[in-house]
């Protein structure tokens, strides 16, 4: 290769790169974004200022960011949990729908139970639905070695079809009979139980608190428990895992079930904390499951970082929605998000490899 620059694999990955590289990637994305903005005749500084103002600055903006961040935190954790074992679960989207269906079922059914119990039951239903749905992918992978990327992706479409069927094409338990013209689900009576707390003037949805707890719990599970150790050995070398007597097949199923449970929990939060019904169309338009994969990738599979990245992406999305207008095309924030992902993935390479120039260093010989 005679290009002036080449990549050399790093023997050791210095710790400081873990935060320096993502930061530099972000700055690079902003610079690239600025060029795009400038080319389209906009003042980049002005646009960034507005995004920051609407997305993050001030209590109201930040509250909005948290609301947008909540589903992404759950789907981000869903993807990160599977990534950790080298499993690529694209199915967060479908597992999120299933969680929403399960939680809506409970939410419609219960009434008069104490607040805590209602929330717990809805969360439980969401987790069970999401985890069973994902466990199917895990069992297929463990028993028949089918590619989980394909199966989990296809199951997203299945879940979408099921959602449409329940709300638009049938007189299901979920469908609201009082609204024949505009098909929608029954309202969730338990909606009122899902609180939003005011902490230092910031509105903190209870679901976001649950997401943070889940992030910490996952971190603990992977760092400090036997199960986490087994997962990391399987990810490193499946043969070594077999050699050490680790039950790989059941671990695959458990990890995917856990991954699905997190997405399902997100679905429950969507129904309970935000929409107050099973919104078949809205869920499929939002695409939380897919954005969650991006969140987990940006967070480099770290469950704690995932929460922060979710806030960041949430704020950007929020700003995008509220600034949309004639002078602010809706594609702008999407473009920016794409650039951020692009530079983050490029940055990932810099953590593993180092750049070397091919200019000869004759001086070294003398030294």
């Amino acid at each position: 290769m005679r290009s002036p620059i080449r990549l050399e694999r790093r023997l050791e990955q210095p710790k400081w790169l873990n935060w320096a590289v993502p930061l530099i990637s972000l700055v690079a994305a902003l610079v690239l974004g600025a060029i795009v903005l400038w080319l389209t005749g906009k003042n980049p500084i002005d646009v960034y200022h507005r995004i920051f103002e609407r997305g993050f600055a001030g209590k109201q903006a930040f509250s909005g960011a948290l609301e947008m961040a909540t589903p992404l935190a759950f789907t981000g954790l869903c993807a990160a949990v599977a990534f950790r074992m080298g499993l690529i679960n694209i199915g967060g989207e479908g597992q999120f729908y299933m969680g929403a269906i399960g939680a809506a079922w409970v939410g419609i059914a219960v009434s008069g139970t104490p607040t805590g119990i209602t929330i717990a039951l809805m969360c439980l239903a969401g987790m069970v639905f999401g985890s069973i749905y994902a466990a199917i992918v895990g069992i297929l992978r463990a028993k028949f070695n089918t590619n989980e990327i394909i199966t989990s992706l296809m199951m997203n479409y299945l879940a979408g079809i099921l959602l449409n069927y329940l709300i638009f094409n049938s007189k299901s338990y979920w469908r609201n009979p009082d609204s024949p013209q505009f098909p929608k689900s029954k309202n969730i009576a338990a909606r009122a139980d899902w609180n939003t707390y005011k902490i230092f003037g910031i509105e903190m949805p209870i679901a976001f608190l649950i997401a943070m707890l889940a992030g910490v719990a996952i971190w603990f599970l992977y760092k400090r428990t036997r199960f986490g150790f087994e997962v990391s050995v399987i990810a490193d070398s499946p043969k070594a895992a077999r050699y050490a007597g680790i039950r790989t097949s059941s671990t695959i199923v458990i990890v995917l079930a856990l991954s699905g449970a997190l997405a399902g929990l997100g679905g429950a939060a969507d129904v309970g904390n935000f929409r107050g019904l099973l919104d078949a169309k809205g869920l499929q338009m939002a695409g939380y499951g897919y954005t969650g994969i991006v969140v987990a990738a940006l967070a480099r599979r770290n469950p704690i970082t995932t929460i922060f990245v979710a806030i960041f992406i949430g704020g950007l999305t929020k700003a995008g929605y509220s600034l949309q207008g004639p002078d602010f095309p809706s594609g702008l924030v999407g473009t920016l998000q794409g650039l951020i992902l692009f530079t983050a993935v490029a940055g990932e390479i810099l953590i593993k490899y180092r750049l070397r120039t091919n200019v000869s260093r004759a001086g070294a010989v003398v030294a």
Binding site: S232, A240, G245, S360
Partner: protein
């Protein structure tokens, strides 16, 4: 032989984080010679050849090719200067033909390749150097020996004048090795230079003109092969003389107690073909049973079945009357079976995990290391620092990933874990393969010490000398069966060699 200097490397220094791999190495290669590069693992042979082929750049020192100072920035640069490397692990595209692999990656080639012309050139080269291989055959159809020939052809095709071969015989049968040596000689006679990296003393003695010995990243010296001996080279390599003789045991084997019993076990290989047929054997307390045989005759499957990594299709395995569940490594570990697998870095260890995690790889389930399913990090670290010291593992610290350690230290980590578990049975598969003389000696001492303490050892090895010097009893495997069972003391080498090659014991004793 012309005394023209083809390559001169002087004062080469290469540092890696925490290690100085080359610390002032000098190497001089003449045109038309086979020059052996000998040294223990971690002596700096691979680093040196990687510098010569442009993969690494030296921190200090100079490289001269044909009297001209050069700085290579890539393997292609080095190849343009006539230096080519034949790697230990082949870099071939399995579905391509030999000819296609030979031209693959060639610089300045046209978009379309002239298959006939390339094939003609390949045939000419292979005739000239005795590298018999069909240019139109596809790589996956070839034996390992033939694939190596393709690697050599690739380098020759690009006009290399200096060929570096990294442990070329490690993958070859004795017959293939002999033919390789003839090829090397033919190339040298034509004025090319061959750098032969090895730690097999016998080979170095038989194939090379001169030998340069490295130790601890420095050049110990360069000698004419005709003026040295195996023993002389061994002492240069380790800095002291090493004995290869039959060990005398402190505590002899007690065969009245059987620790491992394998009864009529059959198993399939990875592709589902029957590869172990009705194998029965026993190992007594403190007994070392050697399993001899040419690689690929079911030894790997035997080791994996006993250690629970592979399910058996028939038969049963017991450790002191306790059944080992078929295909359950956890059961084998619980019964006290330790296993040193052939593939240390990716089967015996999790390569990207730290030394301390790897030392806990088998006992992380015990109450010593975890409680209520939570890991006790302090206990893991404590265990690691104890074992690192007791087994003399050289590592910057216990959190270093094992993949960064040298081959000898990788094996030490593995042995430390397996021996410290106080096993009843130890399955050791090629435990010294690829190690340097010093490390080989250390591993053998550990094996003998374990047997002295009453561990039943099943030593699976292709190295007959190793089995002859350590084992109490020798089993010979051929095509998935045990074809011979003889006491090691006074065993007839020739008979074992013949049964390994498929002759019946009757033929062999005649």
């Amino acid at each position: 032989m012309a005394d023209r200097i083809a390559v001169r490397m002087s004062g080469i220094v290469k540092r890696f984080p925490g290690v100085v791999a080359n610390d002032g190495v000098d190497l001089e290669i003449r045109a038309g010679e086979v020059h052996a590069l000998l040294g223990e693992n971690g002596a700096g042979k691979s680093t040196l050849s990687n510098i010569l082929t442009g993969l690494y750049r030296p921190d200090e020192g100079s490289v001269e090719v044909n009297g001209e100072q050069r700085v290579f920035s890539s393997p292609r640069d080095a190849l343009d200067a006539g230096i080519g490397m034949v790697h230990q692990h082949f870099r071939l595209v399995a579905t391509f033909t030999v000819a296609e692999n030979v031209v693959l990656g060639e610089s300045g080639g046209s978009l379309f390749m002239n298959e006939a012309q390339v094939a003609e050139r390949v045939r000419e080269l292979s005739d000239r150097y005795g590298l018999a291989v069909d240019p139109s055959a596809r790589i996956w159809q070839l034996s390992v020996g033939e694939q190596q020939r393709v690697e050599i052809l690739k380098v020759l095709y690009r006009g290399a004048k200096v060929l570096i071969l990294d442990e070329p015989t490690a993958v070859l049968t004795p017959v293939e090795a002999r033919s390789l040596f003839a090829t090397l000689r033919a190339m040298a006679d034509e004025g090319r230079s061959v750098i032969f990296i090895s730690h097999k003393l016998g080979e170095v003695m038989s194939v090379s003109d001169r030998v340069t010995v490295l130790r601890g990243g420095r050049t110990v010296g360069t000698v004419d092969t005709s003026e040295t001996s195996t023993r002389g080279l061994a002492s240069m390599m380790v800095g002291r003389s090493v004995e290869f003789e039959r060990v005398v045991r402190e505590n002899p084997a007690d065969t009245s107690v059987t620790v491992l019993r394998v009864e009529a076990v059959s198993a399939n290989d990875d592709r589902g073909r029957a590869s172990l047929h009705d194998v029965s054997l026993t190992v007594g307390r403190g007994e070392i049973v050697g399993v001899a045989g040419v690689a690929g005759n079911g030894q790997r499957e035997l080791a994996e079945v006993i250690s629970g990594m592979r399910a058996s299709t028939a038969g049963r395995i017991t450790v002191q009357e306790d059944l080992v569940k078929s295909g359950k490594a956890r059961s084998a570990i619980a019964r006290g079976i330790a296993h040193v697998p052939e593939d240390r870095l990716h089967t015996g260890l999790a390569a990207s995990h730290s030394v301390e995690d790897n030392l806990a790889l088998k006992n992380y389930r015990t109450s010593q290391i975890s409680k209520f399913r939570l890991l006790k990090r302090g206990a893991i670290r404590h265990q690691a620092s104890t074992l690192v010291e007791r087994y003399d593992v050289k590592t910057p610290n216990t959190t270093t990933p094992v993949r960064l350690l040298s081959g000898g230290n990788v094996q030490k980590v593995l042995l430390a874990r397996e021996f410290s578990a106080l096993p009843k049975v130890l399955i050791a598969a090629s435990p010294t393969r690829g190690l340097d003389v010093g490390a080989i000696e250390a591993v053998r001492e550990r094996l003998v010490a374990a047997a002295n303490e009453g561990v039943g050892v099943l030593l699976i090895s292709e190295d007959l000398d190793e089995i002859m010097s350590l084992a109490d009893r020798i089993l010979v495997m051929y095509e998935g069966r045990i074809v011979d069972d003889v006491p090691a003391d006074g065993a007839d080498r020739e008979r074992i060699g013949l049964t390994m090659g498929g002759s019946s014991t009757k033929e062999a004793t005649q």
